[in-house]
């Protein structure tokens, strides 16, 4: 079972071996190495050797010097936390750490236990208190000031969470025998998947206030979150449908013969299995959502990318675009990379779990 990975290159290796005799292969390796070195030297030179690490204005990075990390250093908190009140940024940090911890735990089926729900409730409560404040002597911070990395993570986590909730009825609706639900699900899912995220965000930010009665209109953050949620829900419903189809018919029949009704059957038997099957695809969607949140810049929100752009507007430091984009890029790449690593980890532990239970 675990050694399926080894033979997967072999036919290809056989084919390339037919094409390339060993001297050619050696040449190839050497050329590739050379190219790598040729690319790496100027990058290392720019990013490390010639880089400027300290300074408090653009003057400390004269033209011709390498990367100006001093700029990132002096703007670090603006880029990471946006316009969250300076002295209270620890709240935003702690809240986000709690949120991330909850997600990390929930992504792993090992932790799908009874205590998870109360843990979420407690976590969300403390998250809300930390972010909004207004109680326990914490000053009130309105949501329009939330920004930077915490906003990116907030949009991703809640977009995915609410999206998941909505995707379940959508996926079930698409498989339903009742034509109204089926039609609605198909139209919704296909329409949303057919348009770009940016147009959905645009609709949420421009049209929602127009079509909702006064007083019911959510603020900027809420609107973006609604748009993101609906968008993700459509994709998740499609992934979940795949998982539902993979479940053998016998399961349904067994439930029916045991006299289990539709909803208990779905919630207790079918959906948990479906979610387990589609976990890798869901992890990919999670990564897509994280990257997708960067588009909120276009509707005047200040997420990580937006805050990075705001940092660029400081007249004391002009023109350190490459440093800023590289820094933001590294943060995104690290986050996405660790999510996919964690996803693979989870998959493996799931497989082991299943094998153990099969052995028993």
């Amino acid at each position: 079972m675990s050694n399926t990975i080894i033979p997967r290159l072999s036919w290809w290796q056989r084919l390339t071996a037919e094409f390339t005799r060993s001297p050619v292969s050696v040449m190839l390796n050497i050329t590739a190495m050379l190219v790598l070195v040729l690319i790496a030297i100027p990058i290392v030179q720019w990013a490390l050797i010639d880089a400027v690490w300290t300074g408090d204005s653009g003057d400390s990075c004269p033209p011709g010097s390498g990367a100006c990390w001093a700029f990132i250093g002096s703007k670090l908190r603006l880029i990471l936390f946006g316009r969250f009140p300076y002295d209270d940024q620890w709240r935003s940090l702690v809240g986000t750490v709690i949120l991330v911890a909850l997600v990390v735990i929930s992504l792993n089926p090992i932790f799908w236990r009874k205590w998870l729900l109360p843990a979420w409730v407690a976590g969300l409560l403390s998250y809300g208190i930390l972010m909004w404040g207004g109680v326990f002597g914490l000053s009130y911070v309105e949501s329009s000031l939330w920004g930077g990395l915490p906003l990116t993570i907030l949009l991703t986590v809640f977009g995915v969470a609410f999206g998941l909730v909505i995707s379940v009825p959508l996926a079930l609706g698409r498989q339903s025998k009742l034509p109204v639900f089926r039609l609605f699900s198909i139209v919704f899912v296909e329409a949303v998947r057919g348009v770009p995220l940016i147009s959905v965000l645009f609709m949420a930010s421009v049209l929602l206030p127009l079509i909702l009665p006064d007083g019911f209109t959510p603020d900027g953050l809420g609107r973006v979150l609604i748009g993101l949620t609906l968008f993700l829900a459509a994709y998740m419903a499609e992934v979940l449908r795949g998982g539902l189809q993979a479940i053998p018919k016998g399961q349904y029949e067994a439930c029916r013969s045991l006299g289990i009704a539709y909803w208990p059957m779905m919630l207790k038997v079918i959906l948990p299995q479906a979610f387990e099957t589609v976990l890798p695809a869901m992890v990919n969607l999670f990564i897509g959502a994280l990257k997708g949140t960067s588009l909120v810049v276009i509707v005047a929100m200040m997420d990580l990318l937006g805050a990075a752009q705001a940092a660029l507007a400081d007249p004391k430091w002009i023109g350190f675009y490459v440093e800023t984009y590289v820094f933001a890029g590294i943060i995104y790449a690290l986050m996405c990379g660790s999510i996919s690593w964690y996803g693979r980890q989870t998959e493996r532990s799931l497989r082991d779990m299943r094998e153990q239970s099969n052995d028993r």
Partner: protein, 391 residues
């Protein structure tokens, strides 16, 4: 909870009465009512909000004059044309970047996929690293990076970099010489067509009579000789429009703006990373027994590749890659962030000018829905063709 008897079980006369009593019917009817009421409510609120500010609505604004210029266009357009024309320009620009992006991202994907499967560990690692990095950084960030890179990395117009005569790299775009049809162009074309017709005739005659001579030298000369004669008598069919610096900018030739280049680079490199994974999975998905069987039948490696590996790999590749192409088309909407005049950008400006937000957002959605439908139709056709090759 037992569900009531189903629709089909009931005899005809009682059907309607029973229908209304069914849980299924009730829940569906209720759902329809809620949706209708919500939509109706939304329309009411929107019309009230708009009436309150007496804003105009409807699509009549499409025929009004648009007061903005668009940086680049495949068809003649200038400020003073209608908003409708502006949208056409936007759609064409979207299609342009999407079409080229699809081709380029496939190449990128193929190269990276082959690189990942290469026996050379260095190349394989390099390509793997490319995929891991590029896939995990938001496309918007990459587009902004490439745009800034092109603007700051390339010289200004006055210090244009010119590797060969007639090609100029500047931060305002890449200027290339472009062919221009001369009056004799059509004469030469006609002569060429005539020549080809003659050659085809010759081939048919050759087939029929089984004449004893090699066909291709004769056919080729018959095909191109009239054209050469036409060029000799009527003059060169095309001339080159060479860009030259005049005033502020290069005039003439073909201009490729940095916005377009940044879009194309960003979209192709980003989607290329995804395509690489798809193509790799496709190649690895071919069972190795097939290849071994091919070799044992005495086929060349080339034949194995062409006749055994590729057709099967394509069947695995096409469905996911068509999805990836659709994504690329949708993601071209990010051009709005760097000023590439694609359709979302046109809608954005139009919205700011006319403030007809409902209409502009629905136009964007409609256009992308149509594009998605057309693309998936084409790809379904292609998919059907490749799957039919399997017996």
């Amino acid at each position: 909870m037992k569900s009531g008897p189903t629709y089909q079980d009931v005899p005809g006369g009682v059907r309607l009465a029973r229908l209304f009593a069914q849980r299924e019917f009730q829940s569906q009817a209720l759902f329809v009512i809620i949706v209708v009421v919500l939509v109706w409510g939304a329309i009411q609120v929107a019309s009230e909000n708009l009436a309150e500010s007496s804003g105009k609505s409807g699509f009549a604004f499409l025929w009004q004059k648009a007061a903005f210029e668009l940086g680049e266009s495949l068809i003649p357009y200038s400020a003073g044309d209608t908003y409708f024309m502006a949208f056409v320009v936007g759609v064409l620009n979207t299609l342009k970047v999407a079409a080229l992006g699809i081709v380029l991202s496939t190449f990128v994907g193929l190269i990276i996929a082959l690189g990942q499967l290469s026996k050379s560990v260095v190349i394989a690692r390099l390509c793997r690293g490319y995929v891991e990095v590029v896939r995990n950084v938001p496309l918007l960030l990459q587009l902004l990076f490439w745009h800034t890179f092109l603007l700051r990395g390339l010289p200004t117009v006055r210090q244009a970099l010119s590797p060969v005569e007639g090609v100029y790299f500047t931060n305002r775009g890449l200027y290339l010489l472009s062919p221009v049809a001369e009056p004799s162009f059509w004469v030469v074309m006609l002569a060429l067509l005539g020549g080809i017709a003659l050659a085809v005739g010759l081939r048919i005659w050759h087939r029929k009579t089984n004449a004893e001579f090699t066909l291709w030298p004769w056919g080729l000369s018959i095909a191109i000789l009239p054209a050469i004669a036409a060029i000799y008598f009527a003059g060169a069919p095309i001339s080159w429009d060479i860009p030259h610096l005049s005033g502020f900018n290069f005039k003439g030739g073909l201009t490729i703006t940095p916005e377009f280049t940044a879009m194309l680079l960003g979209l192709s490199l980003y989607t290329g990373a995804f395509n690489a994974e798809i193509i790799r999975a496709g190649i690895l998905g071919v069972p190795k027994g097939q290849v071994e069987a091919g070799f044992s039948l005495g086929l060349h490696p080339g034949q194995v590749m062409r006749k055994i590996v590729l057709p099967q790999a394509l069947r695995i590749i096409i469905p996911p890659i068509s999805n990836s192409y659709l994504n690329l088309t949708k993601e071209s909407s990010l051009g709005v962030a760097i000023g590439y005049p694609e359709v979302v950008r046109v809608a954005n400006i139009t919205l700011a000018e006319t403030s007809q937000s409902l209409e502009c957002v629905s136009i964007i959605m409609l256009i992308y829905l149509i594009l998605s439908l057309i693309t998936s139709m084409i790809l379904n056709l292609m998919n059907a063709r490749t799957s039919r090759e399997e017996r």
